[in-house]
Symmetry: C2
């Protein structure tokens, strides 16, 4: 397959003169807020993945579509890369700035343009916070389903860029399943509409392509999302297990029984204890694992499903099953889960949060593999994850002040992701690839597949100016990483599992 884009690699962007770019943008986009002094740039040096920090050349804070268009056209003309940022809550460094690039911050596009309760859709600017959508829809008994943990702060534009998930995505889908239409501006400064309010759109499905593309294809300027009716009721069951693999198997059993829970979460012993110490959620601290299974819908249905799930859990070997007595206890059960990350953080000077996805049936095997790796690396792991959709968040505990532990944790993390790939899964569940996992993409995809990714990107961005160095590695980078792989992990690139 031919490579159709500029062969320029990450870090090989032509050096640009900051003063010249600033003057050009000030001249061509009057009224556009541009930050350029170091103290003004500092707050933008990283996103939620604070391990990587880079000061951008300039920060642009547009307020109109015309300003975005002009900015894109001028950056294209000047050969200046553009990194788009929403609320900056991403966990994979997708919005990490480039020293030679403009950081395009969309936070001023923060208006809810329309909520149409009859059509059950909302039209939004990209800077609208995820939770604000549900708040605006609440008077109509509606809500927006995808609910990343950062939903108080994260923006819908960033959700589209990362194809964000959440506790409810098992039942209600990822962002891609809840977005109907987006307005975008390309690096050429052209406006495009992808998708439609109708069920299907002819031509190629560029809307799905764009969703999760991590700012590599264009800038989203407006989003139309589906709203769902709020379920009449929600009930949660907590099951204890004396064995983590049994709990893993129970997850598959619940789904195989024809139930699709609103949420199906799993925590292992270390995570349970950390959360219980922190939140006093009433978790069984002697259990090796717990499952939290929420069922939502109409009352009669939910009661039926609770009975079915209870039977499945008993058969799977649960040592104890409790149903939250009331809304207060339901909230408490979830508070433990939602605070599991900071709770684990209290137990260890540092932790490294992984984000891999595997087919549900592989849960028991992968959990066993992680336990073995934990032994081998001498580092503890707390497992907290969206079990229902196979999205794992192992937290590796380490102390960066101890010689070599950071490197050990990173190597351990890499091994976990390889385990996910081997099991037929993927290196990211909901946090995206960004800067963090760009090397693991080499393990996930064959060179011919990466080449197609690049060629598709080039269809939108032939100059490779949009978020270069993120999401899709260059073949040169993979060659380098592949060599590392052979050395460290005895997994030469061509033999890695492909899918």
């Amino acid at each position: 397959m031919n490579i159709l884009y500029d062969e320029r690699l990450d870090g090989e962007l032509a050096p640009t003169d900051k003063a010249e770019v600033l003057a050009d943008l000030q001249r061509s986009a009057p009224g556009l807020t541009l930050l350029h002094r170091e103290e003004d740039l500092r707050p933008f040096e990283c996103d939620g993945l604070a391990a990587y920090r880079v000061l951008p050349m300039l920060v642009a804070l547009p307020e109109t579509l015309e300003q975005v268009e002009t900015l894109m056209k001028r950056c294209r003309a000047l050969g200046v890369p553009v990194v788009t940022r929403g609320a900056g809550t991403g966990l994979s460094g997708g919005a990490l700035p480039l020293e030679q690039g403009v950081l395009l911050v969309m936070s001023r596009f923060n208006r809810i343009l329309d909520v149409d309760p009859d059509a059950r859709i909302a039209r939004l600017q990209p800077g609208v916070r995820n939770l604000a959508i549900s708040e605006a829809a609440a008077p109509y008994g509606l809500y927006y389903a995808p609910d990343p943990s950062s939903q108080i702060a994260c923006s819908i534009g960033g959700n589209v860029a990362e194809n964000a998930g959440g506790v409810h995505c098992l039942k209600y889908g990822l962002t891609v399943h809840n977005v109907m239409k987006v307005e975008v501006i390309t690096i050429e400064g052209e406006r495009m509409t992808l998708g439609s309010e109708a069920l299907d759109a002819p031509g190629l499905d560029l809307l799905a392509l764009f969703t999760g593309s991590e700012g590599m294809l264009g800038v989203v300027t407006e989003i139309t999302v589906k709203l769902l009716p709020k379920p009449e009721t929600a009930k949660v069951l907590m099951a204890s297990f004396d064995d983590v693999e049994k709990a893993g198997r129970a997850v598959g059993d619940i789904i195989a029984a024809g139930i699709i829970p609103g949420g199906l979460e799993m925590m292992d012993k270390l995570a349970i204890r950390a959360a219980e110490d922190f939140v006093k959620a009433g978790y069984p601290v002697e259990a090796e694992a717990i499952l939290l299974c929420e069922l939502d819908g109409v009352e009669a249905d939910v009661d039926d499903d609770c009975a079915t799930v209870r039977a499945v859990l008993e058969k799977a070997g649960a040592t104890d099953i409790r149903q939250a007595r009331d809304e207060a206890e339901r909230a408490l059960f979830w508070a433990g889960r939602k605070n599991a990350f900071p709770a684990v953080g209290r137990m260890s000077p540092d932790y490294y949060c992984m984000d891999g996805t595997i087919p549900r049936r592989e849960l028991p095997r992968v959990l066993k593999g992680i336990a073995e790796l934990s032994e081998a690396y001498g580092l503890r792991v707390a497992n907290v994850f969206h079990a229902g959709d196979g999205n794992m968040h192992p937290l590796i505990l380490f102390d960066a002040n101890r010689e070599g532990e950071l490197e050990q944790a990173e190597a351990f993390g890499g091994k976990i992701l390889e385990l996910c790939v081997e099991a037929g899964g993927s290196i990211t569940g909901e946090h995206g690839v960004g800067r963090e996992k760009i090397n693991q993409m080499c393990a996930q995809f064959a060179p011919s597949e990466l080449t197609v990714f690049h060629a598709v990107k080039a269809a939108f961005d032939p100059g490779r100016l949009l978020n270069p160095g993120k999401n899709i590695p260059t073949l040169a980078r993979c060659a380098e990483f592949g060599a590392m792989h052979v050395h460290n992990n005895e997994l030469p690139h061509p033999e890695l599992p492909r899918f």
Copy 2:
């Protein structure tokens, strides 16, 4: 935006020597079945859209992946276009052969490779019939949801190529929502895997891009689909209306009430009478319109929903509401709907079946517009459609033996599609663009958007050898059609609605 592909246009493919291509393929792919005599080619001259017929240069019927790989590589080397065909049931001429091209028929890849009831997935070769998937899953209480009317005959590979829908797609989604992974072979003869069994896959969403791409990006050689548990029960309500717009409004009201029916279909007076004459379904022949609303799920839930829908229908002005007494009557209600096309066919020497999609809230307005156009053109229309998802199938009745009626019907049909686009909808619901609607794509998309489509296609197929002249029009074609537009419809291209 730069155009990155060969500038060769439809009909300008280099003429190739049939004998030479045949000899090359016979030499390079031993064992590959190749048809080349006119009498052998004849059965492949059209798909379900029999109005267009072209005899292919050659028909290839591969049985192994290696044969497909070799065929693709040789066609790429020789510059011979490849049109892929499944069961040939498509209604938009997507599998119409090219005189200078090879028709790649995938019917021999017809094995069900695996049904995994625990993971609720099935792995299939592309030639497997849609209904055969549900038959294979039935022993486990599972089924495959998308159900195009042609499901007895159409193949899952063709469903992926066209992103097929069906009566149940309102609730259960289109093909794209029910496919997890596909194996493909590119025009370079390279194998790729798109998607995964995990909920999300990193990188760009090439699986969604591929689904519905009408054979323009590669050949699908294996498909992994989701299976769903069969609903415990299904009940159907039939509501009569004395006004077609009232029925249209009721559709939106049902959805706005928080109900997602398993099926929600509408027929107008002409369609009702035709179906009743043909099937004796017990339809109210005096009604101006009927709605058929099927509710499926667990018993208690379905009863609740039936009560809600009944109340909504009454409020919307239904003159009569009947619930099918038993399974036999339910089947009869649906038999009328499913046979509506042939039933209308009995009333008129010819009919032209349209397939447009509009936002639900636009149903009353578009129905009114169609009625006005029917008056203006002096041609009758029977409206039969998937009302719940706004997918309309107006059937224009005409007599091709009457001077000028065919042209009138085509012009009328074009106007209906324009009406759909104006209403914020699209020119196809589930039948695809293919050859039939390629001109309407010029009305649907702006030149800059079509250019991106072409550039994305070029990422997979830089030589434009895969199904050229279908799905995405060249800008030259649009320029020509745009000129026609100005003349006939007073809608100059740049002012056409975009979305």
